[in-house]
């Protein structure tokens, strides 16, 4: 089982946090800080594993991380996960992000954390690995985005059709809009 997935930058600023076990917000922040502290003081050319901090379950859990440019991707897992498997998964995750955002950089993650969550949801579900095939992940993410776009499109065309300047004419339209959105 995966207990938590954290992404933070070189200064420890969280870019994504996903806990598959409940902690309150303060503990979550502490865990992120502690993990950053543990991970950031390690050299570049050492192995990608280290024992978990006290907060996240002590030595029964392992932190498996990768460092890409300005970002750390850290997975906290228990003994039922294979170390190399998770390293591979991080790679798949990053490659998927790269495909979805077209040359992903930290800014993409900063401004579109919800999209990152959606991509992650196609890979890991409730702490268990759902899909490791990148093409499959991208297909599903694209299909969902397309659906979202089609929903937004009909909304936007509706707004364009009703010039907001004319308040009198708007009344009827917007009533129609409300009923339309309710029935949809």
């Amino acid at each position: 089982m995966i207990k938590a997935i954290l992404i933070f930058n070189n200064h420890g600023k969280p870019r994504l946090s996903k806990f598959y076990e409940h902690y309150n917000e303060d503990t979550e922040q502490q865990i992120i800080r502690e993990t950053f502290h543990l991970v950031s003081k390690r050299d570049e050319n050492v192995c990608n594993f280290l024992e978990g901090g006290m907060l996240i379950g002590g030595s029964d859990y392992k932190l498996i991380y990768r460092h890409y440019a300005t970002l750390y991707f850290v997975f906290c897992v228990d003994s039922s996960e294979s170390e190399l498997g998770i390293l591979d998964l991080i790679q798949v995750f990053v490659e998927t992000l790269d495909k979805c955002f077209e040359n992903v950089c930290e800014l993409d993650l900063i401004f579109h954390v919800d999209k990152v969550h959606n991509i992650l949801a196609e890979m890991v579900m409730g702490g268990m690995v759902l899909e490791t095939n990148m093409n499959e992940i991208i297909t599903q993410v694209d299909a969902q985005n397309k659906m979202e776009k089609s929903e937004v499109m009909c909304f936007v065309t509706f707004i364009n059709q009703c010039p907001c300047l004319d308040i009198c004419s708007m009344q009827g339209h917007c009533f129609a809009f409300h009923t339309a959105s309710a029935s949809r």
């Binding site: 401004f111 409730g126 759902l130 917007c174």
Partner: protein, 1021 residues
């Protein structure tokens, strides 16, 4: 009015979205908190709007703020609102927010049940997917119970995307609601052979997680997994399967042998998988993998530039070795040098792994050498975590199995003393408990230990110097106690007494002060005894005065324990002083206060206490719960690790004679053993006379230089001494051997290897009183997954249990019966044939071409103690009546020399319930169904049902395949459908202990039978 709302919502269209919020936060670096609080106010305004788009936008922003550590639980209700939006875009935002901040104690979760159910059955696969993903993060026991059926239905959805998510989430459901495991398991098993690789991988994943908790139940799946392992190409699935086999092989050793070949193939094919195959089944296999691992590590340590990937391999190699170590310590020991080399690695993770391995590396021969190396590391190590780890490891490897590897305890004590010099360690108490343990259990060491402890006490100011060292001051606890308790060995008790009564002591933690005070009293007694021997009585009076002067400091302590002891002892000393002034000899009486010896007590000493007469430990104190109750409880234990305890084997059965004989033998052995000190009255002498120890200086420390804590050279010196001692011993042994050889020549001699020095040849310089007794066996858990015991046939040979009868949804006339066969005898069972006497109504489906009376061959053989499952398909014409079918199972029992034909008769009971299939139904459809009027009505009353209503419902759901449509207070409507499409509706009401069930169905006979069965279920409890 409407206009206002519209205007407002159009304005809101131009509100801040998530990107604006992030940008805003980045622009307000200085007053981030203030900016965010204004944002939260805005969000609160937005949430009050009626427009769902605005709300969703607000919730999206809240999700971001939650990540930054802001509590957003106040918006839980709004999140539910957004979740229930009909648009996918908003729904997804809502579920994401819910998965980030909902948890079991969020109270609005119970509002979501129906929404989630609706989403699960949505025609849009992504609505369902999003709901499943969200649910996986916040599923509660209630949700799991209510939605288990819906999710189970999704497991056979047409879209693989939904199937894999449904399979995966079942694990979470099992965790929260274990009762669902049984009904869901057959379907889960089916999914192992799903055509879609994603679904397959999900099913493997779930079963692996389940098997980790209780491997025994999944042994029967081994053949299936074996097939998967040899056929699958998905690395992820392979890794999981190998992990699963790792859990299974300890239970089924033969599995190991079978696995060798495919595993070695795999290892050769994909080297990176080896890290996860951690079961080591046999020697040959082991050597293959071990040599590979060793090659890997040596290869990686030989490389000058440590690239990260090589470090990864090194780490994994060490990890794998630690698994091997548990089963085959010898083969790992040969790589000792390699592992010691890894201790010097610059990567802390690798060093820690290597440390773990050291535990199994030590022997009597190399313990000192290894510990010396570790001590060097302790000095070099920066960072307290690693140093603390080193410290615990040193103590671990030294103290393992009752100090088995320690040959010289003086060396060990000095190591412990050296460790106290560590700065800022947290493990002071660990060192302290080791000191106490060794001093109490190893009599011969006490003189030395006391001298060392006295030095420690003298230098206490070094340990308490700064606050950082507070952890280490625990050691003083042990030092004070040892000095007090064994004060007769003290060189200069007076000096130690003064050290213990220094004003500085008052800065120590309370519990340590308490020990100081108590032991100062013990020391005082010893000092008095020594001084009263002299003619001069003033010295004794001075000592009393010292006590009276110093003790008031402790009387004022804030710690109650210290206060109490100090005032008690103060009064005592005052009284003694009075007596001394009258020239009364008091030393004897004062010593009597602390007379007697404190002995170590074995952890299992309780066993020695005789059972009082008339006490029957096996009798029930309270009436046992009824049988059916316990059966009901069983599912809860599916994850339990412990089997219901077997009554412990009696130890009293050894008769007196045997005991006497053993005692005699033990005494004999002790008498012959020069190192055994306990029984001898003059232990001190025995110690000094022991061969091989006489040249160990008893006290080597120069006490006139009190500031010097005995340091590293001390323990080094022991290594040399030990070497000498062993040489001498070897010489002694050779002499003895010569003698023996002479004896041999003269007559019968014993076999004896006089090869190079072996483990056993190194005799320890000190003996430890070993106070443990043999541990009772740990019983592995064993729980059957047998269920719905409808037909149960049993002889002493084989048991066949029908655990599931399930209608086939696709074909309204088919019923699948799963039977578990278990071999209970010691012989091999083969050629099993299953045959049923067909009735007009139901027929066993036989392969084409076979006659109506031919049996079906069971497709496996059963080695002793193994169980396996087979499925048989029956064709049923009418399903309105329960039926019983008679059948026989024939099989051949094969012994080593003979084989016999055996037969087992059984009855299969098809209840009407087994024709029902859990089908979800919505209240509107349900109402329509009831209104339609083509249903016949019937009702039944159950009396004396004592269980909570939701248990009652759960029971009906699970035993009789119903689903709850709606529940209001103590009234619920339930629905199920038969395989031939009959609707069955129930209205269950409860008042007090009476439950009334009104039922409607389009087939009255079926209904009557189902009700009878429900009644029967509840009459059993």
């Amino acid at each position: 009015m409407a206009l206002k709302i519209v205007k407002g919502s159009i304005d809101r269209m131009f509100d801040k979205n998530l990107q604006d919020l992030v940008r805003g936060i980045r622009n307000h670096k200085e007053d981030e908190a203030k900016y965010i609080s204004t944002c939260i106010d805005e969000i609160k305004q937005e949430l009050k709007q009626d427009n769902i788009a605005v709300k969703a936008n607000a919730v999206c922003k809240l999700t971001y703020l939650q990540m930054l550590g802001y509590d957003v639980s106040w918006a839980a209700f709004n999140i539910v609102e957004v979740m229930s939006s009909s648009k996918f875009t908003y729904k997804r935002i809502g579920y994401l927010a819910a998965s980030q901040c909902f948890h079991e104690s969020t109270d609005v979760i119970m509002l979501t049940t129906n929404q989630i159910r609706k989403d699960l059955s949505s025609p849009n696969q992504y609505d369902t997917g999003v709901a499943l993903t969200g649910l996986s993060c916040f599923v509660t026991p209630d949700l799991a119970r209510d939605l288990a059926n819906d999710i189970m239905t999704l497991m056979s959805h047409t879209k693989p995307y939904i199937r894999k998510k449904a399979v995966l989430i079942m694990y979470k459901v099992f965790l929260k609601y274990p009762e669902s495991l049984r009904p869901a398991f057959p379907r889960l098993k089916e999914k192992l052979e799903d055509p879609d690789p994603g679904v397959q991988s999900a099913a493997v994943n779930v079963i692996c997680e389940l098997a980790r908790r209780n491997p025994k139940n999944y042994l029967s799946l081994a053949p299936l997994f074996f097939k998967l392992m040899t056929s699958s190409t998905n690395n992820w699935v392979l890794i999981k399967i190998i992990k699963l086999f790792g859990a299974l092989t300890p239970l089924e050793p033969r599995l190991g042998k079978k696995l060798i070949e495919p595993l070695t193939n795999l290892i050769h094919r994909k080297i990176h998988i080896f890290s996860s195959h951690k079961m080591l089944c046999s020697q040959s296999h082991l050597i293959v993998s071990l040599s590979r691992i060793a090659v890997l590590i040596s290869l990686s340590s030989g490389m000058p530039n440590h690239s990260a990937s090589i470090q990864v391999m090194k780490y994994l190699g060490l990890l794998a070795m630690s698994k091997i170590l548990k089963t085959h310590p010898k083969s790992v020991q040969s790589h000792k040098d390699l592992i010691l080399q890894c201790l010097d690695d610059k990567d802390e993770s690798i060093r820690l792994r290597a440390l773990d391995l050291l535990y199994g590396m030590v022997s009597k021969k190399n313990l000192m050498e290894i510990v010396k190396k570790l001590m060097l590391h302790v000095d070099k190590a920066e960072g307290t975590t690693y140093r603390d780890e080193l410290l615990t490891k040193i103590i671990d490897i030294c103290s393992q199995s009752n100090y088995q590897y320690i040959t010289n305890f003086e060396w060990y004590i000095s190591i412990l003393v050296e460790l106290t010099r560590l700065e800022g360690t947290r493990h002071g108490h660990l060192i302290a408990s080791q000191m106490l343990d060794v001093a109490i259990r190893v009599r011969a060491i006490r003189v030395f230990a006391v001298a060392q402890m006295a030095t420690l006490l003298d230098n206490a100011h070094l340990l308490t110097g700064n606050m950082q060292r507070m952890g280490i001051c625990e050691v003083l606890y042990a030092a004070a106690w040892i000095c007090g308790e064994f004060s007769e060995h003290l060189e200069n008790p007076m000096q130690t007494l003064e050290a213990m009564l220094r004003p500085k002591v008052a800065t120590l933690p309370g519990h340590i002060q308490a020990v100081y005070v108590q032991n100062a009293a013990k020391l005082f007694a010893t000092v008095l005894k020594n001084q009263e021997g002299n003619t001069d009585s003033t010295a004794a009076q001075e000592t009393s005065q010292l006590m009276i002067d110093r003790l008031p400091l402790f009387v004022q302590s804030a710690n109650l324990e210290v206060q109490e002891r100090a005032s008690c002892i103060l009064q005592l000393v005052k009284y003694i002083q009075k007596l001394q002034q009258k020239d009364v000899e008091v030393a004897e009486e004062v010593c009597a206060l602390f007379a007697g010896e404190l002995n170590p007590v074995a952890p299992k000493a309780q066993k020695k206490v005789p059972v009082p007469e008339g006490l029957d430990l096996d009798a029930w104190i309270n009436e046992p719960p009824s049988e059916s109750e316990s059966e009901d409880e069983q599912p809860k234990a599916i994850f339990a690790k412990e089997e219901p305890k077997h009554s412990r084997p009696r130890h009293t059965e050894v008769d007196e004679k045997e005991l006497a004989r053993r005692r005699e033998a033990r005494k004999q052995e002790q008498a012959n053993n020069p190192f055994y000190i306990k029984a001898s009255p003059s232990s001190q002498k025995a110690y000094q006379e022991a061969p091989g120890v006489e040249h160990i200086p008893v006290v080597q420390i120069d006490l006139s230089v009190p500031l010097k804590v005995p340091g590293l050279p001390m323990s080094d010196q022991y290594v040399k001494l030990e070497e000498e001692r062993r040489q001498k011993e070897r010489a002694d042994k050779k002499k003895k051997e010569k003698k023996k050889r002479k004896e041999k020549r003269s007559g019968r001699g014993r076999k004896h290897d006089s090869g190079p020095e072996s483990e056993e040849d190194i005799t320890p310089a000190h003996m430890v009183d070993i106070v443990t007794e043999e541990m009772p066996e740990v019983h592995r858990s064993c729980l059957n997954i047998t269920m719905n015991l409808k037909g149960n046939a049993r002889t002493n040979m084989i048991s066949a249990k029908v655990y599931d009868i399930q209608g086939n949804l696709q074909d309204g006339s088919q019923v699948v019966v799963s039977v578990i066969f278990e071999n209970k005898c010691d012989s091999f069972l083969k050629s099993m044939e299953f045959n049923v006497l067909d009735s007009l109504n139901s027929k066993l489906q036989r392969p084409e071409g076979s006659g109506p009376h031919d049996g079906l061959t069971v497709p496996f053989q059963l080695p002793p103690g193994v169980s396996n499952e087979a499925r048989f398909v029956f064709t049923v014409q009418s399903i309105v009546m329960p039926q019983k079918l008679k059948g026989t199972l024939t099989f051949i029992v094969k012994n080593e020399d003979s084989s016999t034909h055996e037969k087992l008769d059984f009855k299969l009971h098809f209840t009407c319930t087994s024709y029902l299939i859990t089908t979800p139904c919505y209240s509107d459809a349900f109402a329509k169904l009831l209104e339609s009027g083509d249903l016949k009505c019937s009702s039944v009353r159950l009396e004396g049902v004592i269980m909570p209503f939701h248990h009652l419902l759960a029971r009906i759901c699970f035993h009789h395949h119903f689903s709850v449509v709606e529940r209001i207070d103590s009234c619920a409507s339930m629905y199920s459908r038969s395989i031939q499409g009959h609707h069955v509706c129930l209205l269950v009401k409860t008042s007090g202990q009476t439950v009334s069930i009104d039922a409607k169905c389009d087939e009255p006979t079926l209904l009557g039978n189902v009700l009878d069965e429900i009644k029967q279920t509840f009459s059993q409890c």
